[in-house]
Symmetry: C2
């Protein structure tokens, strides 16, 4: 597997032709490559969500970043006060659990915030269809963003949108090298690819696109991307399958929030029981 950043993507404006910008950068990069084409069949493009958001005009004037976060929030998962504010970890409109709902105020003009793409899988499908149509190559697209996680320090990049590529390498029901059933293993390869891309794109490098080569086994057949028109019969499930529904999530609520909820319920039940018991003791 090789992973390299695509250099030369310019600043992206609202309405920009992202597929065109990416393919142009690939052509420039390929100028010195034998055959003259940088992209190959089975390549995956990992695209930072920031440029997708910019192309889709998701920059919002926001005097109040906190209000922007509230507007993107579907469900509050946990909050924590820090000197000067409150960190809110929430489930956002895209179904992602993220600090600040994924609302980005870095790398944006003062007084503006950048929202995530409204439907990252749809964004990925459009981009994938465009780069496939223009190159004739079987390409995959993963839209990435950076997220923290419980239990571990630091952040990793994850796949928030995908098209033309399988992001969950479901091995459940298959056997390992020794013939034993691998019954619970389903590597989240989309997130691993997003993380690998982050290692070469880098937070501070300014390269928003990386190419991942050598994982053609995960890239869906042509013409694909669109599950409706795909003649191959392979259903493109996007990155939404990586979202664990809150109902089955053992960490759907922060520990302090869940404990406070339990306390309130327990107090009401205890109070009622205390009053009843006292009454029963009356002569």
């Amino acid at each position: 597997m090789s992973v390299f950043a695509l250099e030369g993507i310019p600043e992206v404006a609202a309405g920009a032709d992202l597929a065109g910008l990416i393919l142009a950068a690939a052509e420039v990069a390929a100028a010195g490559v034998a055959g003259g084409t940088l992209l190959r069949d089975g390549d995956i493009l990992a695209v930072t969500s920031k440029i997708v958001s910019k192309a889709e005009g998701r920059l919002r004037a926001a005097a109040d970043r906190e209000q922007a976060i509230t507007d993107e929030t579907v469900r509050v998962v946990a909050t924590r006060a820090y000197p000067g504010g409150v960190t809110r970890i929430v489930e956002n409109r895209q179904g992602l659990v993220m600090a600040a709902a994924g609302v980005d105020a870095s790398n944006t003009p003062e007084g503006f915030v950048l929202l995530l793409p409204a439907d990252p899988d749809a964004s990925a499908r459009a981009l994938c269809a465009a780069v496939r149509a223009r190159t004739g190559l079987r390409l995959g697209v993963i839209i990435t963003d950076t997220a923290g996680r419980p239990w571990r320090e630091g952040q990793t990049d994850i796949a928030i949108g995908a098209a033309g590529v399988a992001v969950l390498d479901d091995l459940r029901g298959t056997t390992d090298a020794a013939g034993k059933l691998l019954n619970v293993t389903a590597p989240a390869v989309g997130d691993e690819i997003a993380g690998a891309a982050d290692l070469v794109k880098g937070k501070a490098s300014g390269n928003p696109v990386a190419v991942i080569r050598g994982l053609g086994r995960l890239v869906l057949p042509l013409p694909a991307a669109d599950p409706v028109t795909a003649r191959s019969g392979v259903v493109d499930r996007g990155a939404a399958i990586l979202l664990r529904p809150s109902e089955t999530d053992m960490f759907r609520l922060g520990s302090a929030e869940a404990e406070a909820l339990g306390y309130t319920r327990g107090y009401a039940a205890g109070l009622a029981a205390g009053l009843t018991a006292a009454e029963a003791d009356l002569p």
Copy 2:
């Protein structure tokens, strides 16, 4: 960045010389490579914890896998019943929060389980020192394991041990391309490297070691690995820095467990208040 699996690592027995097995496999693989050496300065070896555990004799006869999990548990984080058993997510002796405490019953002989290395950073330091001494190359070592995570489906590989390589690319205090402070960004590059390696090692391929090339910026100077003897002054902090202490973890306890704890406390407080109130009403 390029990432490739090292083929030809044999089944590992207790007491095996892991550095020798890895370097022998690299030499065989390099037979057709110009210059005759496969590993290069700045390469990172991602090693599946399973073979480290086997070399360290961590295979245990265990009629009762549940007891083995209990023995490795420091703190229960969450439990969930499933048909035929209970999934336990716990903090284990290594400080990792994992299902089944990281006790592995796959790819092991019937009636045996494999425990994680007792001190994965120490294992990484020993392996790193050995491969550095024998090759003279500035190499890094990351020991990987597979883990689930809240909020997202599927598993990713993470860095449970490391030596000679920085696993947290702490950008806090630095600025982005636009000159704005990246004040909270600290990419967990060790976990991203472990995930990238998983994409080529593969759960079912049987290749337990991958080489990551092109991230020399993260590999610490020679002679290093051992923070005490390192003349470079660079402190090798290992993968333990990726462990978030439970005291600062907003998800230190499962939602249901935290709610039950709160309920119990609230009930006791409510009961006392109810009894007191009823008594106060007595004539």
